[in-house]
Amino acid sequence: MRSPNIVCPNSESLLQKFKGHAVALRMNSCDHIAEGVAHLRKSGNTLFCVIVESDRPLAEIQFEDHHRGIPLAVMVPAAGRFRDLAAHLHRVRELNLRVYLPCDNPDNLTSLRILSSVGIHCCAVFGNGRTDWESLADLATYAVLERSPHAPIEPFAFIVSNYPASKRLDWGRVFFDDPGHFLHLDEDGRVALSQAELAEKRFVAQSLGEIGAPDEFPPIRERLRSWRHYFTDNHPCAFCAGWKICLGKFSPSLSENAGCSGFFTEMIDLVRQHTALKVALQEQRIWQL
């Protein structure tokens, strides 16, 4: 396993504690992007992306010229009204940007479709127990099968590009949630395997230095192999057709996430249709100018 990418807060002192990693810097506003990237470059690490976790809608975020070229993962609670966003669209499209929207309300599902249709790469965040799986399936259908040019909607685009897979496919990395590719650090450099575990202070190491080769570090190794318990325990998820894509991501909250099975089974069918369409058309998507 290659050196994992690090997700960490925008802290100059923290960045000095390790070298040679690709880093996703977390911050809660765009105001510190330039400064954060500068600190990172001085630290001997490279930039994976900047994660901006804002509590304001996308339409209210001010992007600047110097944000161009910096990969940005912008996590917002909503897109905002289109009339407010329209004035900034030309600038947003110039950026290397992906917008993350939670799918816990129907407006955001609509917003994802709107953003994609006007050329903004975006990501549906779902599975917190409030997902409307049917509407999400409609969005996935649009993302995967719509032939008019539109920007990708993750994680559907990732799934379609990588499935069927000869190995278990974990699209969690789209959300920086894949211990095979991302480790999460807090301000003090303590290491967790996901953002959620970091928030719950479930650390696996006190520093990166403790980890060594990631695939030999027992907690990481165990996590990467944790899919096995679905089969040894005959978990209901192991018998679901959708497991091939979801890998049991929603099993901890199955009662709240009922509908996940139907959604992921339909996702498999969408992938099949997409592949058949691609083969039939043998066309390349041309971005709409």
Partner: protein, 343 residues
Amino acid sequence: MANILLTSSCNRSCPYCFARNEISGPSGGQRLSWENLIYIADFLWASGQRKVSLLGGEPTLHPQCGDFILYLIDRGFKVTVFTNGILSPSRLKEFRRHLTEMPLEKLDLVCNLNDPVLTPAVPQEMQRLNSFLAVMGPWTRAGFNIYRLDFTLDFLFDHINRFSMKRRLRLGIAHPVPGSQGSFIPTQDLRSVVTRLYSFRQLFETYRISLRLDCGFPLCKFSDQELGWLYRSGSHSPFGCGPALDIAPDMTAYHCFPLSNYKRKSLFEFNSLEEINKHFSQLRDEIRTEIPGIYEECDGCHCREGGVCAGGGMCQIVCRFLGEAPIRPAGIEDEISKYRMSK
């Protein structure tokens, strides 16, 4: 060009309204959703269409009217909005904030104006209309529907000058809506309308206003002199008849407003605009095979046969069917029977 109905709600009650079937029918009160708008935009774009019109009812009543306009423009469409101009203060504020920087070639408004004397409006409506034109005048053309023989056009020129509107007038003839009781111009009176229209030519020339005639005027009711004046005023080939292609909020499509109940079909059943045009052209041909035009002399008319004139509006022919015994082919009779029942 495709016409997209944002909503079938309206805040005015025009005596000639040919959208009344839509407003009072099963899709009355409905609003177009974002998802369906995106679908329509994708559909039209894939069909090579780059112009859309937004209609209603009154499209500005849709809560996302402004968003939809901006969205379609961002997608690369030229947008025309047909409105009565009676906007709420908040909607006008929204238009002022977001649309007044829009290049003229991207956004076009057509404001359907009623004669303040013959079709008076309440003071609040007039006030709102004037406020709207004060803000959006430069983007707006005046529109007028002739539904009575004693019509006047003076107030239109007045509005155009006062509010710096575009110097183009869209003029339509109020059509009969099969099965409905609205005001319209009977076919036998069309010559009178043309004569009266021609009498206003001096005003057009004085104020340098060009004229666009909407569908349904028959060529034979114009003298050569009148046709020459029409041509000079910028109205070329106005004697056709559809399909206009209207898409309702429930995603059904139909030939035009007056025929909104005639062989209406879901947009999802078509793969392209070409298919839709083909579908409605077929039904048009079906009707015109039965009766070529609105007058007896349309049958055998070389202008109609040459494609210069359509022979009047289909809605006028269908209305004629309604008044006759059921002698048409089953396909036509089945559709017409819907209008008879509604009567």
